[in-house]
Structure formats: structure tokens, C-alpha cells
């Protein structure tokens, strides 16, 4: 049976394990405290440290006290969230059904309005809450969504074959609807000849057309090798532009995109220009 919200595949493709290595740099570390009835009922530290101050009084949580917490746990900042507010948002999120990604997005968005404690400027406040960002989602659900159909599928196809090993791949199909991820799952290739997947470099069109007929939605596809995908993720983590890399791989012929429409060609061309001028 095909899962429509396959959280495991979603994370293993978009957020593989390597990205969770937490640096020693304190600058981006945070401590989030959960408060209820003037008591801290739980806390979580971004660097994985053990929170041992459950039950402390939160009545006089001034700047100095928050800073002392931050020092104790080796973080840059302490944030407080009210438990009741969080619970209310969690209850609201249940209505989104099985879409854990949307549930987390909703809760994440709403908690920004609730937390108290250090009160930075509103612009900086948004930066404090780490969001589940990914360059693929940002592009297709963000700036590009105006040019794309209201509902479409995006295939991320990664050739994971190791040297000397038989062909292996990993795929994730993201179903977008009105600029939001509606479904995420591993696509069903059962009616597709297995050679098509193995020769994905030449068969990108066939795979894309197959998925369009299978899922009755326009489909876009990104095809790369595992190491290319890893490099793109690493570039994104360093705030570099991963799409420049993707363009380079496409030009080398080791990655491909579906369909080769005018829009996609324009985007690739613009990335080439950005990459060219970026050298100066």
C-alpha cells in the first residue's frame, strides 16, 4: 500500500543524517523552555544537552536569569513558550490529518507568536525559530510556485548505486497543492520497466511521463547521483546556492531535469549566469 505521508522517506531523502551534526559553535544554539503555571515543566537544548531544571520557578524570568540559563547549557539564547498555547496549537494541527510536515509547519508558525522571554525585534524573532527549511521546498513552494500549476508533483530521484554494486535508487515524490506540500511518498514504479530507472539519465522524460499518467498531475523531476545530492545539501548548509551546482551537473550530463520546458531552461540559464557572475 502506498503511504501518502511517508515521513521516513521524506526525511531520509531531504534531511539525511549527516545534516544533524551539531557544531560546537555556541552562536546558533538555543534553549527552549516550556512554561506552565509559573513553573518550567520541560526544556530542550538544541545541542542535545540534558535539561535538568524541570520544576524551577519562572515567575521572575528576567534577562539575567535567561542569560544564566543560556550559559549553563552552552547556548546563545533562551526562549520560553507557554504550554497552554502550545497545546492549543497542537490541537489545531490535528485537523491537518496525517501530514506531519504541515502539522509541524503550523505549530512552528504559531509558536513564533507566543513565546516570551528575551524580546528582540520582530524581524529577528522570526530568525530565532529554526524552520524546517530545504532549498527544494523553498524553491517550489516559494518563488517558483507562481509560475507552476496549482497542483503538481515533484520527483527527487537519487541514484544511490555504490561502485561495483547493482543499481539502487531512492525516490521521493512531493505533491504540492497551492504552494504547500500536500503529500510526500515514494512513488510507485511497478508499471515502469526497471531498465528505465537504471538508465534514468536518458529516460528522465519517460519516467516523468509515467508519473504524470500514474498520478494524474503535472510532474517535475530532478535526477542526480548520491554524491551530487550530498554536495548540494552541504552547499545549502553553508548558505551557498545549491542550484548553481545542479546546473553545473546538468551541463556535465550527470544530472538531469524533467521536463525540458522553456521555464526550466530559463531557470537553468539564470543559474548559469549567477554562477558566472558569482566568480567576480
Amino acid at each position: 500500500m502506498e503511504l501518502k505521508h511517508d515521513w521516513k522517506t521524506f526525511n531520509s531523502v531531504l534531511f539525511p543524517q549527516d545534516q544533524f551534526v551539531v557544531g560546537v559553535d555556541r552562536a546558533h544554539q538555543k534553549l527552549v523552555l516550556l512554561e506552565e503555571g509559573q513553573q518550567i515543566v520541560d526544556g530542550i537544548v538544541s545541542n542535545g544537552a540534558y535539561f535538568s531544571d524541570v520544576g524551577i520557578d519562572s515567575k521572575e524570568m528576567n534577562k539575567d536569569r535567561l542569560d544564566s540559563f543560556a550559559s549553563k547549557y552552552g547556548v546563545d539564547q533562551t526562549i520560553i513558550i507557554g504550554r497552554k498555547d502550545l497545546d492549543q496549537v497542537i490541537t489545531d494541527s490535528v485537523e491537518l490529518g496525517n501530514n506531519y510536515f504541515q502539522q509541524l509547519e503550523l505549530i512552528r508558525g504559531k509558536t513564533q507568536e507566543f513565546f516570551s522571554g528575551k524580546a528582540p525585534a520582530s524581524k529577528k524573532r522570526a530568525e530565532l525559530m529554526v524552520s524546517r527549511r530545504h532549498f527544494v521546498i523553498e524553491l517550489f513552494a516559494g518563488s517558483l510556485s507562481k509560475f507552476l500549476p496549482r497542483s503538481f508533483n515533484l520527483l527527487i530521484f537519487i541514484d544511490t548505486t555504490g561502485s561495483g554494486e547493482p543499481f539502487q535508487s531512492q525516490s521521493l515524490l512531493l505533491s504540492f497543492s497551492q504552494g504547500r506540500i500536500d503529500q510526500f511518498f515514494e512513488p510507485d514504479y511497478s508499471s515502469l520497466h526497471e531498465n528505465r530507472l537504471e538508465q534514468w539519465g536518458q529516460s528522465g522524460d519517460i519516467i516523468g511521463e509515467y508519473l504524470e499518467s500514474r498520478y494524474i498531475l503535472p510532474c517535475y523531476g530532478l535526477f542526480f547521483l548520491q554524491e551530487q545530492w550530498n554536495q548540494m545539501l552541504a552547499a545549502a548548509a553553508k548558505n551557498q546556492n545549491p542550484w548553481t551546482l545542479f546546473t553545473k551537473y546538468c551541463d556535465e550530463g550527470s544530472a538531469s531535469v524533467y521536463p525540458q520546458s522553456t521555464l526550466i531552461k530559463s531557470l537553468l540559464a539564470s543559474q548559469r549566469l549567477l554562477g558566472y557572475f558569482g566568480r567576480f
Binding site: V45, G48, A49, D87, R108, R132
Partner: protein, 659 residues
């Protein structure tokens, strides 16, 4: 139908025997180092055999699979049947977990969506709030097994599941390769964060009527009315929750017995640490803010599960994936040591370092081959795993760390005593509680002070004392009845016939010699007395520590060793076949190395555990009373304890310093 199965069995007996001897050792029928989990619904049926072959090539002999409830209901591709067939073809054994569990990678963990749309079907906490699951695969409200709709639909699912199994076994002519596991499902998770353990439970509206009926059955007639008072409410509710959980398990077992009498069935308590009530917000906030989870927090949940006798299920799609390799290895090893069993998705197993896989396999093999069991010598008996008096349980756990295990009371109805969990391996027909407590190494059975004892409870407790145990039971309380009338008569008779040794060490108690063991009747006044509110036992001056010290002394229970650093957890195992054969594990859940000083009460020999490739040869043994050992961060030091008199060689001036 049963006759046909038996005939089938005789004709396929040869095949079964050949299968068993070719592929499995006697003791390892369903055991292997890792309990490898495969989510069969994530794979196309046509790929089952290929995938299982792949696992078989990696030395997997038993594959585990959860069976999502709504998947069975809607499975038009007959995936489950094909999966079982494929496992049989590939000659793998299969363990099927039939109850819904949190963390399974299926929408709502397999619970049908329609059931969750009605508030009447949802579980509610002590304070009237719906109980949610926050961890992957998605946030949803837990269903209540008190709801008639839920129970009815669940029953239909079990019947359908049983039919599927019956068809497959009939077709294959064999069911020996399959084992059904009945676990405690959502009952472990019925608590909102922040509520105390004794407030654990599903307090939904649907349970009220059933609870009233239960009370009427439990305490019939006029003599039972006092036991329905408010003061007994927490105890009665926990007893009721345990009863409902047990009834659900028994009904599940009955359905499979009817449909599939030859299939092995086992009961087990299972927990997914990241879904446990105390970890709820941790799991959510880790995902929300993209944080690193706390390995120590996860480890605390594993330790608590071990104390409650639960096995660990690690979810591949939850926060566990965010741990580093070192942390994952540590948590998996800790799960094995504290609980004896850990279920891991096959993708996680494949990602583990090869060296760790070998070490884990070797240790598992040693534990199985020499029948090592956790050396938990003290059984804390209460009506449910969450109903313990915290002062009492906390004090005992502190004084006897790592040796306390929690056990729930015997079933409430006299007729239930005839329905036991059957042990298919040994063929014995004793209750799980009695069988567990009767293990030779369980020396002390301590009954929670706020218990209401029935005749059946008392008789079983006295039989345990008869067999050589020390059984501590609360004395009849003057102001309130904590014994049912027949039990009260029985205990009074015992107290009149036997002459006790009366002692008062802050807590008054009487020690009765009872055949091979002892019965200790202790004054439970301070526990029932509502004015005693302090949770700090020593500050309250109740004398509990002295009393427990005396009890532990009477039962000859003492810590294996003293450790100078509280960050180190000491876990000991003993061999069922040889009580002198013991293993010791020092577990460090901190992120820095800890220099632990071990102090033993007598001279012992420490040696490394004989692993595969050493041909069981004894390694060098270091003899002494105290040792200094460096336990690595997120590490486990394992060693064998030996009697120095039987020591094979004594090394002088070895690398490990001792006093």
C-alpha cells in the same frame, strides 16, 4: 478444523524438524541478536522475497513486523499474506505484532481515521484533556479502548487478521515459523505530560460505566461497599485499567487460539521511548525546531522501561534518526542490557558500524546461550505499573538500584485464576505474575502499601513465602479496610497461629517464619494517612530507610557493588543455570568519561566476558574488593564476576589499579 490442523502437523512434522534443525539452534527458535523490523507495507509485494533474501544473506533469521490495523482492513493486494508466504519461502521466521503501537510508520500508527473523528472514541487524561501522540508518523489523538466502537472495530480487525493467518498456514501446511506477539498497545501511553505516574490512565467518559460495573463485580454485596469509597478510587481505577488491558490481551489471544491454535503466541510489554508520556514534548520540539535530541533523556526512558519489564521498540522515522552513530550504538546496547530485547528497523541495523554489530551479536549470544537474566531480586507488587506509592518505590529504588522490578497484581476475578498466560516454550500453566516472582533469584516481594488485598492475592503471596521468598505485605489498617473480609480472616488466623518477631524501626513490622521463607507484615498507616504529605522519606522521619534496610537484609539483597559516581548505572545479570555465574555492566550515559570506583563487599574476580572466537576460554581475572575503571562517554563496560576461589589465574600488578 483443529483436527485437520493436527493431521496436517503430523505429515509436515518431518519438514518442520528438518527446517528447525537446519536453520536454528534449539534455544534460539525466535531469538537472534537484533530483532529486525521490516515494514512490509512500505515494499511492493512483488519485492518481498527479494528483500527477505537480502536480509537472510545478512544473517537475519527472524524478521519482525508490526501489522497496521487499518492496513489489514483496506489491504486489497493481500500484502500480509504474501509477506508471510515470502518469509516461509525464504525460510525466515516471522514475529507479527498484532496490537497497534506508537511510532509505527503508518498514518495514525494504523488506527482507522474514522474512529479518531469522534470525541467519544478518544482517550482522555486525568485532567480531562485528550491524549495525543506527538511523535512521528503524525500528531493524532489516541483512541480509547473503553469506547464500544473502538473495541468492536478492533475485534473485527483481529478476526480478519486471524482468518488471513489461518488461510496462509493452511496453504503452507506449517505455522511453526510464525509467532504472534500481543503487546500492551496504547495502555502505556495514556498519560498527558506533567501528570504524575499515579494519574496514569484513560479517564474518558466511556470508561465510567464500565468502571462502575467493575467495582460492583470486584466488591460484591454489602461488605464490598466500603471499598468503593473515594479514598480507594486511585487504587480501584488502576486495578480497573490493568484489568481492561489484561482482558483485551486475553480476548486477542482467544481469537488467535480459535483461528490458529498451532501458532505460537507470546505476550510482551513494549514501549517506544520517544513516545512515552515523559518524552512527549521532547520528541515534538526536536522536530519543530530541528534540534538534536538528548541521548541521556532517551536513556532515562529506557531505564524506566526496564524497571517496568518492557522491551524497547525503536522507531526508524522518529527522533532516533537524529542521534549520532555513537549515540545510537549506546542506546541500542543500553536497551539490550536494561530490557533484554530491542526491536530495530532493518535500515537502522544496516547503518550501524560493523564492529558494533559484531559486539552486539556476541553479547546477545552469550546472554542467550548461558541463559542470563537480569538480576532483579526485588519484586515491587502494585495494581499497575504506574500505581506505586512514590515514596515507597522511590526509596526502595534508591537503596537497591537496578534490582527492583515492578509487577502488577493478580487478576481481580476468581474465575480469571483459571485463565493463565500459557508458556508455550515450557508448557507451564502458571500465572505470569507467579511465574515471574517464583524465579529463584527473586528474593523479596514487596506489596505496595496502598493495596487492597483479596483472598486470592493473599494465598498466592503466602505460597511464594512458602517457597522460600520474603514477602512483605501491609498490615490490616485500622481506620480503613485494606483487606477483603475473607482475606482479613485468613491473615488474622495466620497472626494468631504464628508467633512473630516484632520490630519497630520507625515502621512497625512483624516477621513470621513461613515454611521456607518469611512473611513480613508491616504497618502501612503512614501511607494511608492523608496528613503525611512529604515526599522526602528521610525528612518525614517515617523510618522507611531503616525498615527497607532491614527488609533487604532479611532477604539477603544487597547491591552487587557500590559506585562512587551516580552517573554510572550498574546492571547485573545472573545465569539461570548457575547462580554464581554473573555479569556486570557499567553504563555511562554522560558525554564525558567517568572514572568509576567499584567497591564490593567481598573479594571478587573480574574478567572480560568470553565472546565468540575465544572458544569460551576464561580470560585473565583480576581479583580484589575495589577497582577503578574508566567508563567511556556513552559507553558500556561489561565484565564477568567470578568467585576468586575458583579463579583460574591471579594476575599481580595488572593494568587496572585497585585498593
Amino acid at each position: 478444523m483443529d483436527v485437520d490442523f493436527k493431521q496436517f502437523r503430523s505429515t509436515t512434522k518431518q519438514m518442520t524438524e528438518s527446517f528447525a534443525t537446519d536453520k536454528l539452534k534449539d534455544k534460539e527458535d525466535f531469538a537472534q541478536s537484533f530483532h529486525v523490523l521490516l515494514n512490509y507495507w512500505e515494499i511492493k509485494p512483488a519485492q518481498y522475497e527479494a528483500k527477505l533474501h537480502e536480509l537472510a544473506l545478512k544473517d537475519v533469521r527472524v524478521v519482525c513486523a508490526f501489522v497496521p490495523w487499518s492496513h489489514v482492513e483496506t489491504d486489497i493486494y493481500h500484502s500480509l499474506k504474501k509477506f508471510i508466504r515470502a518469509a516461509y519461502t525464504v525460510r525466515l521466521k516471522v514475529k507479527l505484532y498484532v496490537m497497534p503501537e506508537l511510532g509505527v510508520n503508518y498514518p495514525n500508527c494504523g488506527v482507522p481515521r474514522e474512529l479518531l473523528q469522534s470525541n467519544a472514541n478518544l482517550a482522555v487524561g486525568r485532567r480531562g484533556q485528550v491524549i495525543y501522540n506527538y511523535a512521528a508518523p503524525n500528531i493524532f489523538a489516541l483512541p480509547s479502548f473503553f469506547s464500544p466502537d473502538v473495541v468492536k472495530r478492533f475485534g473485527n480487525y483481529l478476526i480478519k487478521f486471524g482468518s488471513i493467518l489461518a488461510e496462509v498456514f493452511h496453504e503452507l501446511g506449517n505455522s511453526d515459523f510464525c509467532e504472534i506477539i500481543v503487546s500492551n498497545t496504547f495502555f502505556n501511553y495514556y498519560r498527558n505530560y506533567g501528570l504524575k505516574a499515579h494519574e496514569h490512565g484513560d479517564y474518558s467518559a466511556a470508561h465510567v460505566m464500565s468502571f462502575r460495573e467493575f467495582l460492583d463485580r470486584e466488591y460484591p454485596g454489602g461488605s464490598g461497599e466500603p471499598f468503593k469509597m473515594q479514598v480507594y478510587e486511585p487504587l480501584n481505577r488502576h486495578r480497573f485499567f490493568s484489568h481492561v488491558e489484561k482482558t483485551l490481551r486475553e480476548k486477542t489471544e482467544m481469537i488467535f487460539s480459535r483461528k490458529n491454535s498451532q501458532c505460537a503466541l507470546r505476550h510482551m510489554d513494549l514501549v517506544n521511548p520517544e513516545c512515552s508520556p515523559d518524552m512527549g514534548y521532547q520528541s515534538l520540539m526536536v522536530e519543530l525546531f530541528d534540534f538534536k535530541p538528548s541521548a541521556q533523556r532517551f536513556y532515562d526512558a529506557i531505564v524506566a522501561a526496564g524497571d517496568r519489564g518492557e522491551k524497547i521498540f525503536i522507531n526508524g522515522s522518529g527522533i532516533f534518526r537524529r542521534f549520532s552513530d555513537q549515540e545510537k550504538c549506546f542506546l541500542i546496547m543500553a536497551s539490550l542490557i536494561h530490557t533484554g530485547e530491542v526491536i530495530i528497523p532493518h535500515e537502522e541495523v544496516e547503518r550501524l558500524p560493523v564492529a558494533f554489530q559484531k559486539k552486539f551479536s556476541d553479547l546477545s549470544r552469550v546472554l542467550k546461550n548461558q541463559s542470563y537474566i537480569p538480576h532483579r531480586r526485588l519484586v515491587y507488587l502494585s495494581v499497575s505499573k504506574f500505581a506505586m506509592d512514590q515514596r515507597c518505590y522511590g526509596a526502595l529504588s534508591k537503596m537497591a538500584p537496578g534490582v527492583v522490578s515492578i509487577s502488577t497484581a493478580i487478576s481481580s476475578e476468581a474465575s480469571d485464576s483459571a485463565r493463565h498466560y500459557s508458556d508455550t516454550a515450557t508448557g507451564s500453566q502458571t500465572s505470569e505474575h507467579t511465574r515471574e516472582a517464583m524465579r529463584f533469584h527473586k528474593r523479596l516481594i514487596f506489596v505496595d502499601p496502598k493495596s487492597v488485598l483479596r483472598m486470592i492475592d493473599l494465598v498466592q503471596l503466602l505460597s511464594l513465602a512458602q517457597s522460600g521468598k520474603v514477602v512483605a505485605i501491609p498490615a490490616p489498617y485500622g481506620k480503613l479496610s485494606n483487606y477483603l473480609p475473607d482475606a482479613l480472616n485468613h491473615i488474622d488466623k495466620l497472626r494468631k497461629i504464628k508467633k512473630p518477631l516484632k520490630i519497630n524501626l520507625g515502621v512497625a513490622y512483624e516477621v513470621y517464619e513461613y515454611q521456607l521463607g518469611f512473611v513480613v507484615i508491616y504497618d502501612s498507616t503512614s501511607f494511608w494517612d492523608a496528613t503525611v504529605k512529604s515526599t522526602d522519606v528521610e525528612a518525614a522521619g517515617t523510618g522507611l530507610p531503616l525498615f527497607f534496610q532491614a527488609l533487604l537484609g532479611l532477604a539477603e539483597i544487597r547491591s552487587v557493588c557500590q559506585v562512587n559516581d551516580p552517573r554510572i548505572h550498574v546492571v547485573s545479570y545472573v545465569s539461570e543455570s548457575d547462580s554464581q555465574n554473573r555479569l556486570l555492566f557499567l553504563v555511562n550515559s554522560a558525554c564525558e568519561e567517568v572514572n568509576a570506583k567499584l567497591q564490593f563487599s567481598e573479594t571478587v574476580g573480574l574478567a572480560s566476558i568470553p565472546l565468540q572466537g575465544t572458544d569460551g576460554k576464561a580470560s585473565e581475572c583480576i581479583v580484589g574488593k575495589s577497582f577503578e575503571l574508566a567508563v567511556p562517554p556513552l559507553g558500556v563496560l561489561s565484565m564477568q564476576l567470578r568467585d576468586p576461589d575458583l579463579n583460574l589465574s591471579r594476575e599481580e600488578g595488572t593494568a587496572l589499579p585497585w585498593n
